[in-house]
Each structure stands twice: as C-alpha cells, then as structure tokens.
C-alpha cells in the first residue's frame, strides 16, 4: 500500500483522494486529573488472587458492571506474568499502544529497578521529570514536547484551546508509534491525510459539549477524527482483550513463558 500525505486542510481538496490512517492515539489531550482518570486495571490487582471463576461465570456481572471485571486467568500463570513487568515498572504494549505512552509523570528517584544503567542525574537534564515509557525511563525536557517540522505545531503554536474556560489542551506528543509517524511524515504523496483514533481513554466523564469541542479542534486543526468510546469499551478492549488475550500470542518472543503457562499448560494439564 502506497502511503500518501499532504498538508492540505479538510474541505480544501475534497476531490483529492486521501489517506485515512488509524492509530490508537492521534494526539494527546491533556485533561485535568479528575477527568483524566482511566479506570484501568492495575497489574497489582491482577496479580492478587483471582475471583472464583465458577462464581463469576455464574453471575451476570459482565453485563451490568460499568467496567469489565478482571479477565480470568489460569491459576499460577498470572502471578509470574504480571508481577514481573509491574515490579520493574515496565510498560506493557506494542509501539502503538495508546497507554504504552501513559501520561504518568514519575518523580525523580522513583525509578524502576530494571534500569540498571540509567544515568543518575539524567532527570536534571530536562525538566526534572521522567516519563515511564518502556524499558528505559525517557527523560523529558520541555523542548521535546514539540518537534520542529510537525505541521500543526508549527502552524498554530502551542495549539492551546481558545476557550479559556475549557480545562484542556491539545498537544503533540512524542509518544505513540514513532515509526508510523515517520512513515506518514516522510511520504511525498500530495494526497490529504486524516488520522482516526480514540483519545487514548474512555470518555464517559466528558460532557457532550467538551466532546464536541475536542472533536472540532482535532478535526479542523489536526485532521484527526475521533472515535469516542465508553470507559467500559476502552478498558475492556485495551486492558483486557488486547493485553491479556491477544497480547500473548502476538508477542511470541517476550511472553513465551506466559504462552506456555496459559496455553500449552491448558492442553497438557488434563
């Protein structure tokens, strides 16, 4: 598939064919903490003893609960799998995971044990913050929040929402799938391009006017189309199906132990 891109605005060249690219997180929406709460399952709680499977299946809690209950796992398997990444502070996810770029800001000194050669004074190089984004903590300086050459940033500056009363901004993020971004940016095709994705979290807590405002800004300024999802759908999709069911077989080299425990174990323990 040849990928094509252009800096044209929506509406200005509707006759041209365009690229619709789906990504999990087109842009970072910064929301106040109260609204930004993602009711996702921490791996700590996953690692705690599982609820009785027979019991949970016997009740119809799946339908009524606002967020999905924990995905049942085989006894024994979950402990090894989920505790190790959590205790090391590793982010689980593929390059394009929406929450592999969590907007969790770690204070200096709270450093995962699994980063043995993280330079000690790295945090002072940037703004003193570390973003927990994978195997290593990435030091984040304020200068890296916007890259030169990124279309929207250069066109509209910090792109702060014009409505001051709204407590959110749209900002470019360095997270997400760099390879995908590079591919899109490097394309010389003159067609219009549009990103389609979620906000990276469920949107039950956003009122309709906020959704409309966010949707409008992303569509007009950034050529991004938003699929608003309920908290339950987002949590169930991402934290449960993607991470606990799909995750293992699609990551054969990093979770081979888990696969053996979960799948092969399943077959051979009869």
């Amino acid at each position: 598939v040849q990928f094509r891109t252009k800096e044209s605005r929506p509406g200005s060249s509707r006759s041209l064919s365009k690229q619709i690219t789906t990504i999990s997180e087109p842009s970072t929406i910064q929301l106040p903490p109260a609204r930004n709460e993602i009711p996702k399952t921490s791996y700590d709680s996953v690692a705690t003893p599982m609820p009785n499977l027979l019991e949970s299946l016997g009740h119809s809690t799946l339908v009524s609960s606002p967020t999905p209950p924990l995905t049942p796992t085989l006894p024994g398997g979950e402990e090894l799998f989920f505790r190790i990444p959590n205790s090391h502070g590793l982010a689980l996810g593929s390059p394009s995971d929406p929450s592999s770029a969590p907007r969790r800001v770690m204070s200096r000194g709270v450093r995962p044990k699994a980063t043995p050669f993280l330079p000690v004074d790295m945090g002072s190089a940037g703004s003193g913050k570390l973003m927990d984004n994978g195997y290593f903590d990435i030091p984040v300086s304020s200068a890296t929040t916007e890259r030169p050459g990124w279309r929207r940033s250069s066109a509209s500056g910090a792109s702060t929402c014009s409505m001051e009363q709204e407590n959110w901004t749209i900002e470019k993020t360095d997270f997400g799938n760099g390879g995908l971004k590079n591919a899109v940016e490097a394309s010389t095709d003159p067609s219009e391009k549009v990103y389609v994705g979620t906000l990276g979290h469920g949107t039950d807590d956003l009122d309709e006017s906020t959704k409309v405002a966010i949707e409008g800004h992303l569509r007009e300024d950034d050529n991004c189309l938003i699929a608003f999802t309920s908290n339950a759908d987002f949590d169930g999709h991402y934290n449960h199906y993607c991470k606990e069911v799909c995750f293992a077989p699609f990551k054969p080299y990093t979770t081979v132990t888990d696969i053996e425990l979960r799948y092969c174990g399943l077959f051979f323990t009869i």
Partner: protein
C-alpha cells in the same frame, strides 16, 4: 476425581476466554470503523494499524464494498498457527484482517505464519504472497517498518544521548557493545 476437576476447569477457562472481553474489543473496533466509514470518500485509501484494530478491515470492507483500498499493518509479531489457534476468536480475527486489500508484516517469518495460519484454520487457498478468498485476492507482504535516518542522526547529536553514550562507555569500558532499543512486553 482429580482428572474430572481439571477437565471442568479447562472448559470454564475456555469459556472465559471465549466470552469475557471479546465484546469490548469488538465494540471499540466498531466505533473506529464507523468513523472511517462515515468519512470515507470514493478513492480514499484506508490504512489500519496494529493488533488493537484487527477487526476494522473487515468492518470497513463490509460497509464500503470490494473496491475500497484498505491496508493493514501489524506492528507486532504474528505467531505460528499452533499458538494462534488457541485464541477462541481466531477465525473472526483472521477474517477481520483479511478484509484488507493488502496486509503487511514486519518480517518474512510473520508473513509465513499468517499465510499458514489462514491455510490451516480457515481452509482458504493460500499462494505465495497472498490469500485467495472467494471474490478477491488479499496481498500479504513483508514490509518492515523503517527508521528515519536524518531524524535519528539529529537525535544522536542531542546532549541527552551523549550523556547516555558516556554512561555506557564508562560502564562497559574496554568491551565492544552493540546497543539496541526495544520495547519489552
């Protein structure tokens, strides 16, 4: 008695995988697909990325018909059929991907895994470089995601990178070191 209880737990575990979070996966894929379908104009190309959206190509295809150009790229690995067959919704996932016009993977090995999985689990005709469905051919290609050398070179010159380099050189002085970056998990 032991064998009976293991058997029972096996069945229930399978049911859990079958029914538990699948509907959320489907629902989110649907909400993405709906946005694409609504915005689509004839001649557009839709490019679907990664395993979160495995069902989107088919959802879009069903709505837009056989002429729509839909690409799908899987950024993570594709397992062998022996592992993939463990997924309760394996057929829906595979048909979801096969809604695309072209499917891309990171390595030749993943291409082979995918083709073999389609052949074994769906019983469809697979040829070198594609899957033959009733009405159309789905191209399956090895197209590893590249790096952007100019941008990478600029990054290498940043002060933070220099500090990392220095730390690594200090720590592994006298050794030859190959440094790579990867996501774990």
């Amino acid at each position: 008695l032991t064998s009976t209880s293991s058997g029972a737990s096996l069945i229930f575990d399978n049911r859990a995988f079958l029914d538990h979070s699948w509907k959320y996966f489907e629902a989110l894929n649907k909400s993405i697909a709906d946005v694409i379908i609504k915005d689509y104009k004839k001649g557009d190309t839709v490019w679907v990325n990664d395993y979160h959206l495995l069902l989107v190509p088919k959802m879009v295809r069903d709505a837009l018909g056989p002429d729509a150009r839909i690409g799908f790229f899987l950024h993570v690995g594709f397992p062998s059929s022996e592992i993939f067959r463990c997924l309760a919704h394996r057929e829906k996932l595979l048909y979801g991907i096969l809604g695309a016009t072209m499917v891309g993977f990171q390595t030749e090995e993943y291409v082979r895994h995918f083709l073999q999985t389609c052949s074994r689990l769906l019983n469809v005709e697979v040829q070198n470089g594609g899957v033959l469905l009733d009405s159309r051919l789905v191209n399956v290609v090895n197209l590893p995601i590249g790096i952007e050398p100019i941008q990478l070179d600029e990054k290498r010159k940043e002060r933070e990178v220099a500090e990392w380099t220095e730390q690594l050189q200090l720590r592994y002085a006298g050794k030859k070191l190959l440094v790579a970056r990867d996501k774990v998990g």
